[in-house]
Structures are given as C-alpha cells and as structure tokens.
Symmetry: C2
Subunit: 222 residues, 2 copies
C-alpha cells in the first residue's frame, strides 16, 4: 500500500465505493470494469482508476476489478476489518437515537455505553445499553478499551467533553454538537454538522427557485 | 447579489461563518476584520475575503465587517430569513430523534408531521407531532405547503419515498438513508451519510496509528 499522501477527497469517496460494492456482492456480481462502475456510481471511469490507484490499484488490464477483492481491500484501507468500541456522550434525543441505531453495530461499530450528567437519566437502560455517570468516563474508556467517543451534548459542553475523552485515551471523536471542537493531534476527528447540512439544503432550494424565476421572467420578455 | 456561479465549497462554508457570527453577536462584538475572523474560524484572511466577495463583499476598507450586517446577509443568502415546513419520512429511531430535536425548530425549520407505513406507529404522538399514514403523504404535502422531506426510512425504500415526495411537490429532500438517491432537477438534495462519516473516522484513526508506528520504528532503528 502506497498510501503516503492521500487526499481527504479520495478518503471521503471510499465509503461510497464500498457501499456500491456491497450492492454488487448482494447481486452476485463478481467483476466490474471501471466503465461499468462509472455508470453505476456516477464518477468518471478515469476518476475511479485514479482513486483506486492511490492504493496500489487492484484492477487487472482487460479484466476489471474483482468485486470481492476490491471490497476487502477498501474495507481494510478504511480499517473496517476490525471492531470498534464506542461510547456516546449525552443521552438526549440524538444520543438515544444513535445508541438504538443498529446499523452501525452491524458494521462493526459497537456502542458499549452512554454517559450523562443528568441524575434523571443515569442508571436507566437504552435497549440494553446502560446510561452511566459522566464522572466515570475516564476510568471506563481505559478499562473497556474504548476507541471512539461520540459527542451528542450541547454546543456549550462539547469542547469540555472532547478534552475529557482525549485525556481518557480515545483514538477518535465523532462530533454531532453544532460547534467546532479542537482535539490533540493523536486523536482523529469527524464532524456531523446537521444544521450546516440543513442550511446548505435551504440554499440550494432557494437557488433552484431563483433560477426558475429568472427563466420565467426571460420567457415573458421574449 | 452577484451569485451567478458560486462553488459548492463556498456554500458549504457559509453555515460555518454564520455559526461564528452568532457567537460574536452573543458576545456583543459589533465588527470584525478578516484577520480577526481568520484567527477565530481557521480559514486564511484572504480566503475569507474571497468567499465573502462572491456575494458582493460586505466589508469596508479599514473597518472590517459589521457582525450584524454580515450575519443578516449570510442568513438571507442561505434563505434562513424565512420559515421552512418539513415532514419526516419514517418514525424509527432516527426519525423520532429528528422529530424531537428542537434545535432545528429554533432555526426556522419546523417539523409538521411524521409519516410511517407501520400500523403500530401510525396515530401515535411524538412530543406533539402526529405520526401519520404514509398513504396520505401527497395530500398532506400539498395542503400543508411542505417545503422539505426528511428521509429516515431504510435504504431499500429510500428511492420510492424520494419519488413520492418529489411528486408531491417538496422543494428539497434531506436524505439520511445510507444510499444514494436520485431526484428531479427542480428538487434540491442534501445527504447525511452517517456511515460514510464513521468510516472516514475509522480511516483517519488508523492513519494516525500507522504514522505513529512508523515513527516509533524509525526511532528504534536510529
């Protein structure tokens, strides 16, 4: 693997390739050319070859890609060939939803515990996952060898919780709080800014509407 | 506004600018130079000037940006100066969480109804929002003038639900199903692929670890 310097854009596309490969496997497809893959996923064939070349290239001239082989390789590159242990910080609506969302578990990401400061919630059970006291988070991360902390607290507490998780030794933080947080260099960070996404949607809706209006105006003036 | 051709990258940054402007307003800051803004948000001052120039530029030489003015302008550009009416498709864990998440409502995005196919859920109440029969979605979107459909069904049903919403006349679709869907040109689409985000996180965690290991190896060999 020659993955010395792979752009973030390529990394972001890999999970998407993998999703399509899962579909192909389900359909019993064994091999696929970059052109067929292109028709399916929407990237150009040359983009696909270039992306996959970053990792040494798995295609064989005149044969295409082995679906199973490519799936395994991309899974390994993403680190999905092992299990990850996660904690959720905050047992509000979002924290509860993620705790109950079984899709991640099927993919090897296991929610081990949920942590809260609210005494009303501590001790309760979320589909078999215990809500524990935030006071005990550092101990828990160490003893249970937690890899990932998921931040579902409000934006005012997000940085403090991130600091605590980093101190406790998680390797990655998945941040859902609508704010930017800072983490030490040895901790990976991925943000899901739901509001930002919703605001982008609003922009595009208005943009489409404006374009339609100016088209109509142009028609009337003809 | 000269927003003829604004790159998606710029659009994606606008909600983030806006978030920081909200913080500045809370602190009572009235004006900010691109350099101060740069220290805060992490983009370079020249990037900030370039981004905001896309929209005509709001800064005054030697004065900087008016925080209130910039906030209002970005809000208007994003279309956040009005209210949006939304429906949630699917009352599973994710759909329920989004229905209960008050943060969006505060920002002018109102969840009006939740739609389901499961008879066990239809008729129930989610914090004051009714769960309705999927059969009635088209009528509801028309009568209630719904702007946005949020897809929280599983990946096998996502495209069908998107087709129905588009037919019913929503202007935008916010897709949480872990699959890619297609929409007509007049409908805006924004995806939140949570699994993709989690897989990127896994990649970055492993990448950091690999780099640490090769550093240690290099040290030992010295």
């Amino acid at each position: 693997m020659k993955n010395a310097k792979i752009s973030n854009a390529v990394i972001k596309r890999l999970p998407r390739y993998r999703r399509y490969l899962i579909e192909l496997r389900k359909k019993g497809v064994e091999k696929i050319s970059s052109k067929e893959f292109s028709n399916l996923i929407g990237y150009t064939a040359s983009q696909i070859r270039q992306d996959l070349n970053n990792f040494g290239g798995f295609g064989q001239q005149g044969y295409g890609y082995s679906v199973d082989g490519l799936y395994d390789e991309i899974s390994a590159i993403l680190g999905l060939d092992k299990e990850y242990r996660m904690v959720i910080m905050g047992a509000g609506n979002l924290g509860q939803a993620i705790a109950k969302y079984t899709h991640f578990h099927k993919q090897g990401f296991k929610v081990c515990g949920v942590f809260e400061i609210s005494p009303n919630l501590i001790g309760k059970d979320l589909d078999g996952i215990e809500i524990m006291d935030y006071e005990n988070i550092v101990e828990y991360v160490e003893e249970e060898e937690i890899d990932i902390g998921i931040i579902c607290v409000n934006q005012n507490n997000a940085q403090e919780v991130a600091d605590k998780l980093s101190f406790a030794g998680v390797k990655g933080i998945w941040n859902f709080a609508p704010t930017d947080i800072e983490v030490p260099k040895h901790v990976a960070l991925e943000n899901v800014h739901l509001s930002d996404s919703l605001h982008s949607l609003a922009y595009h809706m208005n943009d489409i509407q404006k374009k339609d209006q100016s088209k109509e105006k142009a028609k009337k003036e003809e």
